[in-house]
């Protein structure tokens, strides 16, 4: 069990590195993102895939336990909605933050949309879906 300070430090360092890296890769640039999604440039895709390969190897060396995850009913429809929204707005939950930080003020609208979507999901899930969706970040 890590201390509160260690967890805070982890979040700050990771946030800084993630924001810095995402912005420098070009995920906030709609043209670059579209070039990845339409296979005109594989640079950003390789960045992501390369990161996954490094993480898999590092976790294997560090013996980080593999956690099972139940494929619940919300995974596929949720991922479809997310993929659609990502292609339309050019933002995943982290990207619009770096877009605003880079001066793209309309990305505030994307953030507002994400806010509404997240609150809507929790509300509809409580009322209708009753899914135990798990959480990627604990």
């Amino acid at each position: 069990m890590r201390t509160r300070g260690a967890i805070l430090l982890a979040n700050i360092i990771t946030g800084l590195v993630l924001g810095f890296t995402v912005a420098n890769i070009g995920y906030g640039d709609y043209a670059e993102l579209n070039r990845m999604f339409t296979f005109q440039s594989m640079r950003m895709f390789y960045s992501f895939a390369g990161a996954v390969v490094i993480i898999v190897c590092a976790f294997a060396v560090l013996r980080v336990p593999r956690t099972p995850g139940r494929i619940h009913a919300g995974v596929v429809p949720g991922a479809v909605l997310f993929g659609t929204g990502w292609a339309i707005s050019g933002g995943c939950p982290a990207i619009p933050i770096t877009q605003v930080a880079g001066g793209y003020l309309p990305a505030l609208v994307t953030i507002a949309g994400i806010t509404v979507g997240i609150r809507l999901c929790r509300w509809t899930n409580a009322r209708y879906f009753h899914l135990d969706r798990g959480s990627c970040g604990l």
Binding site: T21, G102, I118, R133
Partner: protein, 218 residues
């Protein structure tokens, strides 16, 4: 003309962010999860206070289950605390399987404190700002750049509507799927979790299909 990092530098940066988090905190991170918790800070704070009140693990687990059932509308009496939630924090190098003891250790279910999740979002902003300034890309603007203008629309109203609708889909979709690029894509795929591999494959392929359909075909 600005240049972005080569793919290997980007891969190293993303991997560094993920591995660093796991090494320091014994947890995995997710940006959509951080958003979710920060946006629902009242209920999250209530859960945190409840956690602090209980020292007995069984009592804590039951109280969390009851509170979650109340909040999510899950049927009373059913366990809403998953035995092994995705991204579950566990000590590094420990092969102990909580399920083997009949129930998970309550301490292993505790999420990162709420304030640290807010710190993650603020730090992403600062990291992005530093990158924009140091690379010379920082420029205050009221559009989404030439890419969006050429590929999607130059009309400010249509742009605003598309960004909002896209944002709603991203927010709703990531929480319904239980994660986004960071949670499922980096942390989950890094741990070879089947649910994360499925989610990542689906959202990437959907984004590809939608990009081709919207901006190439239609």
């Amino acid at each position: 003309m600005t240049t972005y990092w080569p793919w290997w530098a980007g891969a190293a940066g993303l991997a560094l962010a993920t591995i660093n988090y796991t090494l320091i905190s014994d947890r995995s991170f997710g940006v959509s999860s951080a958003w979710d918790r920060v946006l629902h800070w009242r209920s999250e704070r209530r859960l945190e206070r409840m956690e602090e009140e209980f020292t007995d693990e069984q009592a804590l687990t039951e109280a969390l289950a009851a509170a979650t059932a109340e909040h999510f509308g899950t049927a009373a009496g059913t366990s809403t605390v998953p035995p092994v939630p995705s991204g579950q924090p566990r000590p590094l190098g420990t092969e102990t399987e909580p399920a083997a003891s009949g129930r998970p250790a309550a301490t292993s279910l505790r999420p990162a404190p709420l304030v640290t999740q807010a710190a993650l979002l603020v730090s992403i902003f600062l990291g992005g700002f530093i990158a924009a300034v140091t690379s010379g890309r920082f420029h205050l603007r009221y559009d989404m750049g030439p890419g969006f203008k050429n590929l999607v629309t130059a009309d400010p109203i249509t742009m605003t509507a598309l960004l909002f609708v896209g944002g709603v889909l991203v927010g709703f979709g990531t929480r319904l799927a239980g994660g986004c690029n960071s949670g499922h894509g980096l942390n989950g795929c890094g741990r070879l979790r089947p649910v994360s591999i499925v989610a990542t494959a689906v959202f990437f392929s959907t984004a590809v299909a939608v990009s081709f359909l919207l901006w190439k075909v239609i």
